[in-house]
């Protein structure tokens, strides 16, 4: 594990046993989270899992009840102002001052972060162009996606070491989402760290070096996608000539037989056995897929599939 909070210069965010209660309800329950320099770290969880609460503690907006938290080597509650010069933040639900134009808000946020220099005008205008934002409109006239763009441009145009992005693409269209992904890929090359909270799994899959899955205020899994995949099942779909006889095989789940067609989820250990049985039955077509993050997610939150926050 990566040592003590803030000790290594390669760790930009470190929490250990982080706990936050609102009255009797526990929002964060001993959360551990580590983000290293230069990595894109996806922070995944359904609505209400504690993602936003974590980010607000990292910003010093909320005070942790117990546990350790270090941000860029400092204490986010005590050193808020000094630390904020080195980070940029995009809230999940972007609200803007209705009487100000988008352009004014971008500049204002840049100047608030860095009162002397403000934003680099070249980066700013490049971003405005790439995100195709009309900066002369009053914020009250913006759609949700355009409000999101304003906050994103203000954050991405900065030279912050750490970007805290809370569901940054929730309101963007697919084209703009692709633009956002391109930028994140470029940013990663320049050595910034990005903490990206999301429940859009394709986004994390496309962008993230490492993933932390949070549920009910606790980190239930952390690692690279490769590390997590070995824990999970392979999805197998086949069309066979005879009966495959997969019922009752240990490690086979969600088996669906539809005439000659067979679909199931297979544990790593049972894969050889399953392929053997399919082979004996006579394979006509076969598809084996590594699990998508979607499926990882469904496994952790399968009980909530029918209620809120279900991935599509």
């Amino acid at each position: 594990m990566t040592s003590r909070p803030g000790s290594g210069s390669d760790v930009v965010v470190h929490t250990a046993g982080l706990t936050k209660r609102f009255g009797s309800a526990v929002a964060l329950d001993r959360l551990d989270l580590t983000v290293r320099t230069g990595e894109v770290h996806a922070f995944l969880g359904p609505n209400g899992a504690g993602k936003t609460t974590t980010i607000r503690i990292l910003l010093g907006l909320l005070k942790a009840d117990s546990g350790q938290v270090a941000l860029l080597g400092g204490d986010p509650w005590r050193d808020a102002v000094a630390l904020h010069r080195r980070l940029a933040y995009v809230p999940g639900d972007v609200t803007l001052w209705p009487s100000l134009t988008g352009g004014e808000i971008i500049d204002l946020l840049g100047r608030l972060r860095d009162p002397k220099a403000g934003l680099d005008p070249r980066r700013r205008s490049a971003l405005v162009e790439r995100f195709d934002l009309d900066t002369s409109k009053k914020a009250r006239a913006y759609s949700r996606g355009n409000r999101q763009k304003v906050a994103l441009i203000a954050a991405l145009a900065s030279d912050a070491e750490l970007l805290l992005l809370d569901e940054p693409t929730a309101g963007l269209d697919p084209l703009m989402e692709a633009t956002f992904r391109d930028w994140v890929t470029e940013e990663r090359r320049s050595g910034r760290a990005i903490l990206l909270s999301s429940h859009i799994l394709a986004e994390a899959e496309a962008l993230a070096d490492r993933v932390t899955i949070i549920r009910a205020g606790r980190a239930v899994e952390t690692g690279t996608l490769a590390e997590m995949r070995h824990l999970t099942r392979t999805s197998v779909e086949a069309e066979v000539a005879g009966p495959a006889r997969l019922d009752g095989v240990r490690g086979v789940h969600d088996l669906v037989t539809d005439g000659p067609r067979v679909r199931c989820q297979v544990d790593q250990a049972a894969l050889n056995e399953v392929l053997g049985r399919l082979h004996r039955a006579g394979v006509r077509t076969l598809t084996c897929r590594p699990p998508t993050l979607e499926e990882l997610f469904l496994r952790h939150y399968s009980t909530e599939r029918n209620v809120a926050g279900a991935p599509r």
Partner: protein, 572 residues
């Protein structure tokens, strides 16, 4: 008539949302008229007294400017003079707010989009809003018709007064309906309608003041051009009898405006205004820098409106002061009242002091609203992006507090300057009146600052109750300051109000002591509030979790916990 489908449901929705406030406002407007009628009956019990008042009020241009034409000498005619135009203004403001609230405001917020996707006609929301406004104004007319005769006023005059107020409300309901089609935002629509109301007031005021002394003077046509003028030309309780046909003018104007609004609504796109939305700056100017620049930018427009209203009102008060001695001299009771709230020996000083007290209360209310904007920004997620930058909480809060304090100071300076200039010019003594009244106004600043600091303290310590507590204290102080002296409340109660500690200027004896310790209290309360802000969670909704976000979060949380209890094997 498919354009009107769903009108009945939307009308019921409008009443469901507004029934309380509509009842309170209609009742309130009529109640003030009734109270004025009762007081005038008490203050001027004899015909001789009323004649003295009428001969003075009818000829004083400043009083005509403020209140309008006097059409007789009965208690009823004096009531219609003293509050007829102002009640018509109140009814107009009420109608504007109702109509815009249920049309453009709902459309801007996207609620009408949801409604419009149902089996609801294009004209239904506008019709429902107008029905709500019509109901309110009919209620005003009816209440006046039923209530004023109880005070022994004639039936015919009561009906004419009630109808002239209600008809003016209806005319402005129609105007607001048009404004809601023209402007793309609720704020813009209210702005257009209120600007027309302001212009109507000025037209009538100038027309009435300009024709003082000679009934059909050259400027009378200005009053005839104003919807507020129509309210006085109906001559409720007039000695020459009511002039009923005048009431048809506002009704016809309202109906014409409604027809225009329907035509525009049938033609325009949903959520589009007919006036183009002007593009703004594509980059921030040098002024919009740091939290202070932001706070100033957010408040400048509203503050400018307040300053303009102060300048206008205090110019009128200052102008009316000149004749106030003779005017008050006509009622011994009124003279006693003014002397009591002003504690003064000369009636003029008492009158000016009472109005400077009002200026102080208004400035305190402005500053309180400016400070409470901090809480609105906090709960509206607008504090978050600012505090996530290199801006500390204290600096953020101080920026808004600074604007509040400067705003309160500006308002009081405007009151003093405006009253001093207009009174000074009319009496030829600007050089003495201007500094005297400016000092009298600014002396109220420390008391206003105490109330500002109270708002800061509750924002820091009890954020989830900040709005309720801060406004309750402002209301309490206003009640003590306005009613305490005339009802001769004990000193222990009077001392709750910081305004009690201020010397009664002009005319009173100035001592620096109270001003200094009121400032000291303000600084201490402000510091306590800032300390509270520094040590609490941002967006704190309080121990009872009444806010929606926490509520939703709690539901999610409980569901997850419940389900993880059912399926313990789910956690890897």
């Amino acid at each position: 008539m498919t354009g009107f489908a769903g009108t009945w449901q939307l009308t019921r929705l409008a009443f469901r949302r507004d029934v309380g406030i509509l009842a309170a406002c209609t009742w309130g407007i009529v109640a003030v008229v009734a109270l004025v009628a009762r007081d005038l009956g008490v203050l001027y019990p004899t015909a001789a007294r009323r004649l003295a008042l009428a001969s003075h009020a009818g000829g004083n241009p400043a009083l005509r400017f403020l209140f309008g034409r006097l059409n007789g000498t009965s208690v009823g005619a004096l009531t219609a003079w003293r509050f007829g135009v102002w009640a018509a203004c109140a009814a107009a403001v009420l109608a504007i707010f109702i109509v815009v609230r249920h049309t453009r405001a709902d459309e801007e917020a996207g609620r009408l989009e949801l409604v419009g996707s149902g089996a609801v006609g294009r004209q239904a929301p506008l019709t429902a809003a107008l029905l709500a406004a019509v109901t309110a104004n009919v209620a005003i007319a009816l209440l006046a018709f039923l209530w004023l005769p109880v005070l022994k006023l004639p039936w015919a005059g009561s009906a004419a007064l009630g109808l002239s107020i209600g008809a003016c409300g209806l005319a402005f309901a129609g105007l607001a309906a048009v404004a809601a089609q023209l402007a793309g935002t609720a704020r813009g629509a209210r702005g257009i309608a209120l600007a027309v109301l302001g212009a109507a007031f000025v037209l009538r005021a100038v027309g009435d003041a300009g024709s003082a002394g000679h009934a059909e003077a050259a400027l009378s046509w200005l009053s005839w051009a104003s919807p507020l003028g129509w309210a006085e030309f109906a001559r409720a309780f007039g000695s020459a009898g009511e002039c009923w046909w005048v009431l048809a003018i506002p009704l016809a104007a309202g109906a014409a405006a409604v027809a225009v609004a329907f035509a525009l609504a049938a033609w325009r796109d949903h959520s589009a205004g007919l006036l183009p939305d002007r593009p703004g700056r594509t980059a921030a100017s040098g002024l919009l820098r740091g939290p202070l620049g932001l706070a100033w930018r957010l408040h400048a427009g509203v503050l400018a409106g307040w300053v303009a209203a102060y300048l206008f009102t205090y110019a009128a008060f200052g102008a009316a002061t000149k004749g106030i001695g003779e005017f008050l001299g006509t009622s011994a009771v009124l003279k006693r009242y003014f002397l009591r709230i002003g504690y003064q020996h000369t009636v003029i000083d008492a009158y000016l002091s009472a109005f400077m007290l009002l200026a102080g209360l208004g400035a305190a209310a402005y500053a309180t609203s400016a400070v409470l904007r901090l809480r609105t920004e906090e709960t509206g997620n607008l504090a978050e992006p600012v505090l996530a930058t290199a801006t500390g909480r204290i600096r953020w809060a101080l920026s808004y507090i600074c604007v509040a304090v400067v705003g309160a100071g500006l308002l009081l300076a405007a009151a003093g300057l405006s009253a001093g200039l207009s009174y000074g010019i009319l009496t030829g003594s600007v050089s003495t009146q201007l500094p005297q009244l400016l000092a009298a106004a600014l002396a109220r600043l420390p008391a206003a600052l105490v109330l500002t600091a109270v708002a800061v303290a509750v924002f820091g310590l009890l954020p989830w109750e900040a709005t309720a507590v801060a406004w309750s204290i402002v209301a309490l102080v206003a009640i003590i300051a306005l009613f305490g002296p005339s009802l001769q409340w004990p000193a222990a109660i009077m001392d709750i109000s910081p305004f009690t500690q201020i010397p009664n200027l002009p005319g009173g004896v100035v001592t620096a002591g109270p001003l200094v310790w009121l400032c000291g209290i303000s600084v201490a309360l402000g510091a306590v509030g800032l300390f509270g802000l520094r040590s609490r969670d941002l967006g704190d909704l309080g121990p009872s979790f009444r806010g929606p976000r926490i509520h939703e979060w709690l539901v999610d949380y409980l569901r997850i916990r419940e389900q993880s209890g059912d399926n313990p094997g789910n956690i890897t």
